[in-house]
């Protein structure tokens, strides 16, 4: 291994493993987690970021063989631009976690929680995610993939004294394994055509349409389950909030991206064929996920659960972009396909940044106010101003508002969707505008959702006593948030610069870069042609600041215009109390009423023993009743039937064994 990037990647994996190993000693010294394991974790993130940047900058392919694996099947690693890009995504969030973590895990030091498990599995989790992106054969890929699932399972089950968390973790484990099986079968299809488990062999395979479709469907199910696409998302809003907040940031921000990486690697790189039917499937599932995700997010009042549902939405947006890319590529419009593909990548990076930032914010609130229920929060901007301002950046970014980063990916996505008139098929020309409408609706609802989050949590007055006493969090936690907030703004204001960096990915995977989009230099984005559409984020940001500055300068500085503090308007009655404020549930009520059919709502007013009526509102996911419960019932029924075999008599068991052996012999012969 002489390649700089590969060396850095190896260093990153090694550092993550060392961080994991060091954590074992926290049995003796709890401080070790804070002073050694988390910094090592952050360094591993930085090393991964460096490896990714090298791979993107050099735009070459480096491979190596590891002295591990089976004798006839050595593990192979490969660092190309796509791996490099996702190494950057993993690395940047992990580095921020390394900054944020020491402050956050301090709260666990005095508790009864097992610190070796926390630090050990966190390091292992990072190492396995890095290995997934580096793997160059299906064997190594699956081993790393399963390691990733298992280590994150233990992190989800970290607070295992709460029954709901144990249930969430089991659910996660179950679905991760069903997904893993689908991926394995998908690799199996490709391996049988490509004659070998190495990715190079699979790349050369030319499976016929039917088999390729089977491989596509299996990988879509497998990776889609991990990424949390509707209707396979049910584990996600349960599992992500259950983990400690810096792990939630890693799971939502990064692990879902590893699933996206898997899908891109499997589909765009290994299968390498594009058919419009697949594009339609990806587009439709992405659109449904985006809309359902944001609507369910709006209905949540637990902050971390809300953020988890919003991850479903953003993954949906990424898959809308991938679906568009497949459709345009299948129709031969390579430039447009590349724009959509780049939009998917950019949104993956953006989502990692702002979702990490928002989970850090939720963690900070949990850390200092011990509260995750929005309906108990309020006024936190004045209690913890830094967390408040950084979270504002996160909310603005995720709501796709200019000049922040979420807007750029959405803009690119709209631009590619608007070129739909170039397609010949009338069906597709109808379908893509509908998906664009779904995307527009998603964006608007996401803005409503994050106005709710910010307005209820950080503005207004505290709705409970412990929130009123919240203290600012330690500097290290603020630094982790600040790093991501600055990056959110930077990626929003200088999109051309950053898109130039990831340009190597479409060049290697699709054989075509974003030359047209970036033709205008760092100031401009011009996806198709300058006269068709252009956006200059630096100038928009600059003008915005200038206009606001002008208004402040004209109005704010003269002494005649002093402001006076007074009480809020109370209509001449009693002064308003915090309980009179709109809560998160109240805020979403009009939307709940309009989209009521999509939710399973149970609302009732019960009379309590003391005579006071109590309002109860339960909103649950409709997919449970529509998909999961029937499946569970069928499985249970089948299990009951099979249990007839289990008579408890050893002679009957021997008989079954004999019959099985005979049947197998018959098949073999």
């Amino acid at each position: 291994m002489t390649h700089t990037g590969l060396n850095a990647a190896a260093l990153a994996v090694a550092l993550a493993l060392v961080s994991s190993f060091v954590s074992l000693f926290t049995v003796w010294s709890p401080r070790l987690l804070r002073v050694a394991a988390m910094p090592l974790f952050g360094l591993a993130g930085l090393a991964a970021l460096a490896a990714g940047l090298v791979a993107l900058a050099q735009a070459d392919v480096a491979t190596a063989e590891l002295p591990l694996g089976l004798p006839w099947l050595p593990w192979r690693v490969r660092l190309d631009a796509l791996s490099g890009f996702f190494l950057c995504v993993i690395g940047v969030v992990s580095a921020a976690v390394g900054l944020y973590g020491p402050g956050y895990v301090r709260g666990f030091e005095s508790g009864r929680d097992s610190l070796p498990a926390l630090g050990g599995f966190t390091g292992l989790f990072l190492a396995s995610m890095l290995m997934v992106t580096l793997a160059d054969d299906a064997f190594f890929f699956m081993v790393s993939w399963e390691m990733m699932s298992l280590s994150s399972y233990f992190l989800v089950a970290f607070h295992h004294d709460i029954a709901a968390n144990r249930r969430a973790a089991f659910m996660y484990l179950l679905m991760a394994h069903i997904g893993g099986m689908a991926i394995l079968l998908g690799f199996g299809v490709l391996a049988s055509f490509g004659d070998g488990l190495a990715f190079d062999a699979m790349r050369g395979a030319e499976p016929p349409f039917g088999w390729a479709s089977a491989a596509f469907a299996l990988s879509f199910i497998g990776f889609g389950m991990k990424a949390g696409l509707v209707p396979l998302h049910a584990w996600l809003p349960e599992a992500h909030p259950a983990a400690p907040s810096h792990i939630s940031a890693l799971m939502s921000g990064v692990m879902l991206k590893v699933a996206v990486y898997g899908f891109i690697r499997f589909f765009f790189d290994l299968i390498g064929q594009f058919h419009w039917q697949w594009g339609v499937a990806v587009l439709a599932v992405g659109g449904v996920s985006a809309l359902a995700g944001v609507l369910y997010a709006l209905m949540q009042h637990d902050l971390k659960r809300l953020l988890a549902y919003s991850s479903v939405e953003n993954i949906g947006v990424i898959f809308i972009a991938l679906g568009l890319a497949i459709l345009f590529l299948s129709a031969g419009h390579a430039t447009l396909g590349t724009v959509a593909f780049a939009a998917a990548l950019y949104h993956a990076l953006n989502h990692a940044l702002f979702k990490g930032l928002l989970f850090f914010g939720a963690g900070a609130i949990l850390h200092s106010a011990h509260e995750s229920n929005l309906d108990q929060m309020g006024g936190l901007l004045r209690r913890m101003p830094w967390t408040g301002y950084f979270s504002l950046v996160g909310c603005l970014s995720i709501s796709a508002l200019p000049p922040f980063n979420g807007f750029v990916s959405e803009w690119l996505l709209f631009q590619s969707a608007l070129q739909v008139w170039r397609l010949d098929s009338g069906v597709l020309r109808t379908l893509i505008p509908i998906s664009a409408a779904a995307l527009a609706l998603t964006g608007a609802l996401a803005a409503a959702c994050f106005v709710k989050v910010y307005g209820v949590a950080f503005l207004g007055q505290a709705r409970s006593r412990h929130v009123r006493r919240a203290r600012p969090v330690p500097y290290s936690m603020r630094a982790g948030q600040g790093m991501l907030a600055v990056l959110c703004l930077a990626l929003g204001v200088f999109p051309a610069t950053f898109l130039g960096l990831i340009n190597a990915v479409p060049q290697q995977i699709l054989g075509r870069g974003l030359n047209q989009t970036l033709a205008g230099g760092w100031l401009w984005l011009t996806p198709v042609r300058p006269d068709v559409a252009s956006y200059s984020a630096p100038l928009v940001a600059l003008t915005l600041i200038m206009l606001a500055g002008l208004a402040v300068w004209l109005l704010g500085r003269r002494s005649v215009f002093r402001t006076r503090r007074c009480d809020a308007w109370d209509c001449g009655f009693a002064p308003p109390t915090p309980r009179m404020q709109y809560t998160a549930t109240a805020f979403a009520q009009p939307i709940r009423r309009v989209f009521g059919l999509l939710f399973h709502i149970e609302e009732s007013v019960e009379n309590q023993d003391d005579g006071k009526p109590r309002h109860r509102l339960d909103i649950s996911d409709r997919t449970w009743g529509l998909l999961y419960l029937p499946v569970a019932r069928v499985v249970e029924g089948a299990a009951r039937r099979i249990s007839y075999l289990q008579s408890g008599n050893v002679r009957v068991y021997l008989g079954w064994t004999l019959v099985t052996l005979l049947a197998l012999l018959w098949i073999v012969s």
Partner: protein
Amino acid sequence: MNLTALTLALLQLSLYVALAPLLAGWVRKVKARLQNRRGASVLQPYRDIYKLLVKETLVAHTASPLFRAAPYVVFSATWLATSAVPLVSTGLPAAMIADVIVVAGLLALARFFLTLAGMDVGTAFGGMGASREMFISALAEPAMLMAVFTLAMTAHSTNMASVVEYQLAEGTILRPSFLFALSGLILVAIAETGRIPVDNPATHLELTMIHEAMILEYSGRHLALMEWAAQLKLMLYGALIANVFLPWGIAQGSGAGELASGLAAAVVKLGLLGAALAASETALAKMRLFRIPDFLNLALLLALLGLLSYVILEVGA
């Protein structure tokens, strides 16, 4: 970017900010006349803004710094959005910097801060206004984007100046997609600018307020900026409808004569639109809050129909 272009951009920015109160005053005046009142002078909004600017500004004890920053953000984002919608001339460099999706994004940015400011003081009214505003905009924004996408696809550009130029070059063709998009956009404009039947800008009745509920705590120069931003938004939507769908009279060069006639055309068109708005506000009653989704779904449906009738019927033709 040469000097003429820069001058044009600045001219357009100052025209918007200078004329927006006039449009609001004109609508109020026409409405008063239609209701058999004499009404205040059309210049009244200028006097209101001046009065608010010199008055003392009150800020509630419970307000956070965001409350004081919000008016500036709302005003500048709305103002910047106007720079990309052609008013008197299509030679508009700002339309390159910000296309119509960015305009929608900037309006959303303004709305984001407006609603946050509403929730900041912690009174019931602010939360109510914010909740309703986001509810309406969640349905209105996609409809607006679909309507302008119809135009953008027809003209093969999301640059508003190019769309207007395309319209001028094509001449008057009655396209079904445009009719759908236009009707959708009009409905959206009514909802987004808070006019009857969606919201009533003149009300302070607790249960029906939307926009007014959010800015209830504002006073002095903060209120002036918020009001001015709302007037700018009204004018922006007016210009969008008037110049993009009915582009006649708009200047294509930068000569003084051309610009003057462009300005005259814009004033006439906006005046007519304002009068139509006043007439419809006189004729219609405000809707119940939960009837508004029907109204906006109609807008979304019309806009989507426009888009579909373009991609199905008109692409090849």
